[in-house]
Each structure stands twice: as C-alpha cells, then as structure tokens.
C-alpha cells in the first residue's frame, strides 16, 4: 500500500503526459479536416446536422487545449474533468452505434487508423480508466 502511494503520483504524472499528447493528436487530426469530422459525427445519427457541425468545429480545439493543459499542468483539474466527461460521452456514442449495428468508423483519431467500433470502445475505456485514475490520485493529493 505504501509502495502504491509512492508510485501513484508518478504514474499519474506520466499518464497525464501520455493522455494529454493523445488528445492533442486526436484534436489536431480532426481540426485539420472539420468537414470530414462533421460527416463522422453525422454518421452516428445522434445529433442534427447543424449541431454536429458545431461539435466538429469546437471539439477538436477543446481536445487540444485540454490535452495541453494536462501536459503543462495549467488548469489541470478543469481539463481532467472535461476530458473525463468527453471520454464518457464518446463511450455512450460508440456503444449506442455498436448496439444499433451501424457500420461506421469512429473517426476519433482521423482516418489514418480506422479502427472498428469494438476497438474504439476498448481504447476509450482505457482512456477513461486512465483519466479516472489521474483524477482520483490528484484529489487524494489535494486532501
């Protein structure tokens, strides 16, 4: 337990950098081609086109800023909360697409690597778990 207490902050720091870099990459890839990302959002058939367009323009930049905030430890807790919320929302959207049998790709990291929905869900669960771990470690340290 004592060892875990020692390792946890280090692991949290390392994970913050990795997850931050991952979100920056995901954001940049989508920010480069928002039209394509708007189509990806539309493929999920969850939002009206106009709302999907706003999401396609806004979400990549939110990911980039929050990713940078994680790495540079500025507005860190806020970024963690936003990214955890986003990862949870992605999980709901991906699971709903999987349940409805939609034959689409996630578009989460652009189209260089078009994973299946199942792989995308697994990646998202991993990211969500990492974010929750970082968040809980940070909150414990603050107490």
């Amino acid at each position: 337990m004592a060892l875990f207490k020692k390792i946890a902050p280090l692991a949290s720091l390392l994970l913050s950098v990795i997850i931050g870099a991952l979100f920056i990459y995901a954001g940049v890839v989508k920010a480069l081609d928002p039209a394509r990302f708007a189509q990806d959002v539309s493929n999920f058939r969850l939002l009206p086109w106009t709302v999907g367009t706003i999401v396609a323009l806004y979400l990549p930049w939110l990911e980039i800023l929050c990713g940078a905030a994680l790495i540079f430890r500025k507005l860190h807790t806020g970024a963690l909360l936003i990214l955890t919320g986003l990862a949870f929302a992605f999980l709901v959207a991906l699971s709903s697409a999987k349940i409805r049998g939609l034959d689409i790709s996630c578009g989460c990291f652009g189209h260089a690597n078009s994973h299946s929905l199942t792989v995308s869900i697994l990646i998202d669960v991993g990211i969500l778990a990492a974010l929750i771990f970082i968040l809980s470690t940070e909150l414990k340290q603050e107490r």
């Binding site: 039209a35 106009t50 806004y58 930049w61 800023l65 905030a69």
Partner: protein
C-alpha cells in the same frame, strides 16, 4: 470554464475561414448515393468502380478502382466479377456531380447483375480530388 471558452475562439475562426470547414446544411443524398467520407470509412470492404471512359481511367483513378463503363460493358464486367465477393460494397463513380455514367452503371449492376450493396459516389472523381487538396 476558461478552457471551454478558449476553445470557442479557434472553433469560430475555423468555422469562418477554414478551407475544409463543414457546410451548415446537411448534404442531401439521393437514394443509392454515398458520400466520400462514408465510403472511405468502409475501408477494405469497398470495390471502387470507375464508370468514366477508358482514357480518363488510364490517366488517373481512385487507387484500387476497376474500370467499368457502358462502352465496354461486356469486356469489363467479367474482370470486375472475378474480384467481387458477396460481402463487398460496390461504389461507382464518374467524373463529377453532374455526370450520369455512375448512375447508369449502378443501375445495371443492381438490375441486370442483381448485385446487392451498389452505391454511387456523390461528387464522383471531383469529390475524390477535392479531398486530396
């Protein structure tokens, strides 16, 4: 809150000036049409069919596409059927939004060859070229 507000600034700029900004109105699709992004997301399941003339095809075509046009239907169809499998999705394209060759080829594949999952690429070859800019 600061991060949420900050992200709105580049998003608004991208919405006005980005060369690849999305349209504010949904692109309407005719029955049997598909958008390039959707077709690309199908990945290896797609067989691209080029309905333009043989000359246009030999100049340039979507990587992996096969030629199939009405001018040489009987000569080109067997070549395509050798590659076709039941689980494949066929996407036919011609030169632009206005051309009709892809609609004609798709219609013949559906009605004469009785093939399922045949789509026409909206915007055709021009849509493909624009996506590469």
């Amino acid at each position: 809150m600061i991060l949420l507000a900050l992200a709105a600034i580049p998003a608004a700029i991208a919405g006005i000036f980005h060369p690849k900004r999305p349209s504010w109105q949904a692109e309407t699709l005719a029955p049997g049409e598909v958008l390039l992004g959707t077709a690309q997301a199908w990945g290896d399941k797609v067989i691209w069919l080029d309905a333009r003339s043989g000359t246009d095809f030999s100049k340039a075509h979507i990587p992996g596409a096969l030629p199939l046009n009405e001018d040489d239907w009987d000569g080109l169809l067997p070549q395509f059927l050798n590659v076709w499998k039941k689980d494949k999705i066929i996407v036919v394209y011609c030169s632009s939004l206005q051309c009709q060759a892809s609609n004609e080829v798709a219609k013949r594949l559906r009605e004469e060859a009785k093939l399922p999952q045949v789509y026409v690429l909206k915007g055709g070859w021009e849509a493909w070229l624009s996506s590469k800019k």
